[in-house]
Assembly symmetry: C2
Homo-oligomer: 200 residues x 2
DNA sequence: TGAGAGTTTGGACTATCAGTACAACACAGG
DNA sequence: CCTGTGTTGTACTGATAGTCCAAACTCTCA
């Protein structure tokens, strides 16, 4: 895949919705060309095929998530508060890019089969969150995890499915309401808390 | 889709792995025919196309999950314990059918686009868990949820991603270890608990 | 100004594969 | 033996992903 001019990249976002709606294999290359305004021949000049176009869009989304998550992770405050920030960050990106987000989750399988995406996902989310969990154990705001990696994975799953549900349904709730719900589940769990001991 | 003879259904499972590995659209009908031992003409006698074959496999998996989840939901004990049972049930089915499970999550987007699957998923998981959450609020073993539906969705996401990760990685951990980790996150959350107040 | 490199595009072409058509065959029950 | 229901091989069609190429266009450097 050749280096992509910005202007062209921008046009491609127009195709994300199409892919999200129909799935990649129900979307003809010619449809993508038409929806984005980029001629087919040009698409093939830059990409080796459909999959690479999807991969580009998804990597872009993951990069956006990575950026916002990184900011949240290295903010001020206790780890538990920053974790809530991470949740808000990921949900924020997802709700701002519902089409790419639906395409990502919709073609999650393909995504897991694209190695560079797995790496991007890991860098965007798992590693920072894992680090955050360790810091939480230090500052006492989070319990010590036996297996921070798999907890990070679960956290990602929780946030992702919550965000996806909104993206599919068409985001009828405020982002903050959703983020609070997710953060509460993750921090406090479902069991009742004895009064006066909670995170964020 | 015609009523499917059991013998034929059994053969089809052999194709699930193929689909899980490659994704549906990289899998040729002829490959499915070869892998399952069911001739292409017979496949088209029963199914209208590829998608319907996938839908059959997924519906089958969801039915299995629905069955085990239903048992767990209506077991003895407090709701918190039964919720842990639900987690074990879903993970159990997923780990016993890693191929279908990967195919399901891999083609999740397609799945969300197949209305009967969305309905099956809802019946298999969301509704029973939502009911369980309400019961937990009654018996005091779970906190009262503001929005049980969306909590049920998040729970599903957490369990699913955890299970998927194992299915992809090749299940190096014991099912019980995974299930305990998931149940602990869901019930207790990540914030430290004051001693002596916890679920399951 | 103009040569040359890289980019952009239209359009024709090929190869692959999903899905169809159909005829032949198997095998049941009456 | 006849008829209906499943089963299968084979040949076919149509759609479309991806290739190829030549013409045009743009930018840079001399």
């Amino acid at each position: 895949m050749r280096e992509l001019p910005v202007q062209l990249a921008t046009k491609l976002y127009g195709a994300a919705e199409l892919i999200a709606d129909q799935g990649l294999d129900n979307t003809k290359i010619d449809d993508i060309a038409e929806a984005s305004g980029v001629p087919k021949a040009t698409l093939y000049y830059y990409f080796t095929g459909k999959e690479e176009i999807l991969a580009f869009l998804l990597k872009d989304l993951l990069t956006a998530i990575a950026g916002d998550v990184a900011v949240a992770v290295s903010a001020e405050g206790r780890a538990s508060e920053r974790l809530a920030g991470v949740v808000r960050a990921q949900l924020g990106v997802m709700l701002r890019n519902p089409a790419s987000c639906r395409a990502l989750v919709g073609d999650l399988g393909r995504a897991t089969r694209l190695p560079e995406l797995a790496a991007a996902l890991s860098a965007a989310f798992y590693e920072p969150v894992e680090k955050l969990l360790r810091e939480g154990a230090e500052d006492g705001s989070l319990r010590r995890a036996e297996d921070p990696m798999s907890e990070a994975v679960m956290i990602f799953g929780t946030v992702t499915i919550a965000g996806l549900m909104e993206a599919i349904m068409g985001a009828h709730r405020e982002m903050d309401a959703i983020a609070n719900g997710v953060a509460r589940l993750l921090l406090d769990g479902l069991a009742p808390r004895s009064p006066g001991a909670t995170g964020a």
